[in-house]
Subunit: 339 residues, 2 copies
Amino acid sequence: MTRRTTGTTTIQTVADAAGVSIASVSRVLNGLTANEETIKRVNDAVKAVGYVPNSAAKSLKTNQTGQVAFAMENIGNAAYLAMVQAIQPVLRAGGYRLLLHSTDADVQDEIDVLRSLGQRYVDGLILCPLRVTRRHVAELKRAQAPVVVIGQLPKSCPNDNVRVASRPGVALAIQHLADNDRTRIALVDGPVDTVPGKARYAGYQDGLKQAGLEEDPDLVLFADFTVDGGAKAARALLQQKRPPDAIFAANDLMALGVLQAAREAGLDVPGDVAVVGMDDTELAATAWPPLTSVSLGAQERGRLAAELLLERLSEPDRPRQWVTVEPRLVVRASSGEAT
Amino acid sequence: MTRRTTGTTTIQTVADAAGVSIASVSRVLNGLTANEETIKRVNDAVKAVGYVPNSAAKSLKTNQTGQVAFAMENIGNAAYLAMVQAIQPVLRAGGYRLLLHSTDADVQDEIDVLRSLGQRYVDGLILCPLRVTRRHVAELKRAQAPVVVIGQLPKSCPNDNVRVASRPGVALAIQHLADNDRTRIALVDGPVDTVPGKARYAGYQDGLKQAGLEEDPDLVLFADFTVDGGAKAARALLQQKRPPDAIFAANDLMALGVLQAAREAGLDVPGDVAVVGMDDTELAATAWPPLTSVSLGAQERGRLAAELLLERLSEPDRPRQWVTVEPRLVVRASSGEAT
DNA sequence: CGGCATCCCGTAAACGTTTACGACTCATGG
DNA sequence: CCATGAGTCGTAAACGTTTACGGGATGCCG
């Protein structure tokens, strides 16, 4: 005896309309073995009653959601945005939907996301943490779903990982400035207690050393990763008695702030002071003068992370993958010749 | 007799550990009536076994997913990005997760998203369509979940709606240019077969009329909403025998392209030609010269749409809401005095 | 004609929750 | 002492799928 059909159209509705059992409907829908005749009747019935499978029920049985989450600090940041843009098409091609988590750089929030994987509302997670604490590591180890981490990661973490060598990337920029005869090269860095902030400072020191330049503590300032942060820092730098002839900003946003401060001070870029940014976002190309910037391959990292995740999902026991993306210096007008 | 506990920790695991029935566990977890003693034992058990409720099972019973989707053309567009940034915190505060759909301006994709609401993987949808076809209307009417539409919508659609009067917004800009003694004001519009494209053209005509200027067909070009599109169109405009002394671009991206073309042609902005953009994105403020732009309140629209959706979700039968956001002219240097 | 393999299909159980219903305890009041 | 009601709790059904299992046709071969 067939179950009574309720208000919502379920697989049972289809079964009744096609005159077959719900098992047959399910089989046809999932492309399993079935008679030509039944296939046709089921497909017709599906159309006729306008059936759409309920994803919650499907998830409950199959333990798969067809969803993947991406957690980052703030999607307003162009670097993360580039990642999202790269991640989306890969996931979609793999039949997954994309969920977004903005953590606002709140460590607790990142941890919560990791914890909530136990709810099984996603099949996997791409996580892009600003800093990796001991709690991160602990949660990563016991995560209930595959997690791909974008960024530096301790070797003890069992997760797939995509990283970029930002430190040599900074050095690349410093070297480039030195090659153009800049000798007082300043650094406008982000917060020093973040992983990127630390790496950039180290790269700055590397670059100076390679170029045979001395580090001048007056030329290193820390701000936050915003236009205003960059502008404030640059104003301070440019007012010094011995101002820099080049400024490397840890971020395109900050570099824009630097450009702004230079204009205010009546300085020509690159004539009086060269400026180089980092991330090579859309902003760099459209700035004036067009901004030389170190590309950290955000798009590429996003794409790779998504691909790694999909591969892991289809093959859970494969060995852990680590991928490194190479930084690339994109030279534009802002780092041209001095006058 | 209690059911055998399987590998995964379910509500049954908790029940066994606490020595109560699964019904009691569920009641405690959902804050329903229960004895102090039981509450404590359940909570302890939850901690002890590390229980996290399975969201698929919950969804299946309650018919709620705790998820909301936002579908737009392409998150790379700063206007949509601003919406996402505004939507996210509202949803999160309401306890919802955010799902992202990039439709790439593919009408079929938008329709598919609407259709897929039948799968019930989200409780509601915020849709930001580029154009609204007859099929859109049809699907909107039979949508299986509440949909809030951002953008122009026929009155026949039963959906909540947030719109912006972009047409008077454009007129505002034209008026502003005319007030500054510009007489040959060009329009670089987006595709004319899109809703925004049409509205901007109409607003352009309105503005000219208000200012007592004649429309010159040579001064109206259509391109796509990109930097390159704007640059190409501007090059064509500036090479004419009677070039414009002002250019309104339908979009900040296109306006950046216009700025670029003006620089290539050795023209001063705003001395030789004034430029005004639209959307007032981050790009406008950081451009050089800083770009005058018409704000269409993307953030505000996003926030309002999210709020409308949450209200609709908690009160499904409330009357349909229509909200209009007022455009605002943000004057910066690019539309200053002519020389 | 019997035995056996093959092909389809239907029955029913299971996934992990929520919740209606009824049962039980205990206190209260007539 | 019984009836009533309030406060808790457990049993079991239900949500809409997928899938293991077995049974009924059918065809083929010995």
